[in-house]
């Protein structure tokens, strides 16, 4: 079984079959298959967690937790390959990120609102960093459903069909939500730029 490269995404039917076979091999203890799965998804999961939690250490913990859960399910036969592995994996990720976010709110300790911790582009920072910071702040200001679509799409690199399947919503709803989120982000960034 040829491991699938990290930048290779199972979009076609044959790639789905390969991913399914990879998952099956990993479940039976094939370490190479497991490493391939981790290499395909670890950074995507990390990016989603980092976008929400704004903390590299927590993002790595979340990533490890997600793969630990996946390993348990595979080892105990709790996963049935039906060609929806990615949706399932990112659903686990979203739930972990939400749980961590809720726990932080309860502790009201280290989670600082993005608007407070990120340096919004004020013209003094480096170009790219400043724009990225402004973009992070704008994404952080979105409400839950809109933000999830943005993060699943641009950080998790899921297709809209996969996002729709994961969220259990029609693809048209997902597309509309994404478009609405883009408009909000653009408005926030334009407002920031107009203040400068």
């Amino acid at each position: 079984m040829r491991p699938i490269a990290a930048d290779e995404h199972p979009g076609s039917v044959s790639e789905h079959d390969r991913l399914g076979a990879l998952v099956t091999d990993a479940a039976s203890g094939d370490e190479a298959a497991w490493e391939s799965i981790v290499s395909m998804y670890a950074r995507r999961i990390y990016a989603m967690a980092k976008s929400r939690l704004r903390d590299a250490e927590s993002a790595e913990e979340i990533t490890q937790s997600v793969f630990a859960t996946l390993a348990v399910h595979l080892r105990e036969g709790g996963y049935e390959e039906r060609g929806r592995f990615e949706s399932w994996l990112f659903r686990i990720t979203m739930n972990r990120v939400r749980d961590e976010g809720r726990q932080r709110q309860r502790r009201s300790a280290e989670t600082v609102p993005i608007e407070a911790c990120e340096v919004v582009a004020d013209g003094t920072g480096a170009g790219d960093d400043g724009r990225l910071a402004a973009l992070r702040a704008a994404v952080g200001g979105l409400d839950g459903p809109d933000r999830e679509v943005i993060e699943l799409r641009h950080h998790g690199q899921l297709s809209f069909a996969q996002i729709a399947d994961l969220l259990g919503e029609p693809i048209g709803t997902v597309l509309a939500r994404h478009h609405r989120a883009l408009k909000k982000i653009r408005r926030v960034i334009e407002d920031e730029e107009s203040l400068q």
Binding site: A27, A47, Q64
Partner: protein, 154 residues
């Protein structure tokens, strides 16, 4: 991105397309952040063959013993409660007569009421009289009836 349609429907202006590219760049920036050994670290610590778990689950901690113990305790308490109840309702050992009658048993009540009239102890009692301290006034109704029934006075 892994599909041609990136959410920008046909007719979407260039500004939105530019924003999509910026968001993709942000995602790429976040994905590149972990160090080179990140995947190996995650894979090593979480592979399915590893016995230890990073995130322990609670599901496997339950065993039949955990259920049997409270059930057994509940049963013991129930038995003990029943025993206490029966002990409390059992008549006491000999020496005293404890009268218990069914409040609906009118005949018994009338009989007992009649005994009061028949008793030589009570027959001469006049409500207007001042009772001697040591007379039947000092006795309870139960004691009076006991005397009558046990032949203390005929």
């Amino acid at each position: 991105m892994n599909e041609k349609t990136d959410g920008t429907a046909s007719g979407t202006d260039g500004a939105t397309r530019g924003l999509v590219e910026m968001l993709d760049a942000l995602g790429e920036h976040e994905r590149r952040e972990p160090d080179a050994g990140f995947e190996q670290r995650i894979a090593r610590e979480t592979r399915p063959g590893v016995v230890g778990r990073v995130t322990p689950t609670r599901g496997n901690r339950w065993s039949p013993g955990w259920v049997a113990l409270p059930v057994a305790a509940a049963l013991l308490l129930g038995v003990f409660g029943l025993w206490m109840q029966r002990s409390a309702s059992a008549p006491p050992g000999g020496g005293s007569l404890r009268l218990v009658w069914d409040e609906n048993d009118v005949d018994d009540l009338l009989f007992i009421d009649g005994l009061w009239d028949q008793s030589p102890i009570t027959a001469d009692m006049d409500e207007t009289e001042t009772a001697n301290e040591n007379t039947a006034d000092e006795q309870t109704a139960d004691e009076l009836l006991f005397d009558v029934l046990e032949g203390g006075s005929t």
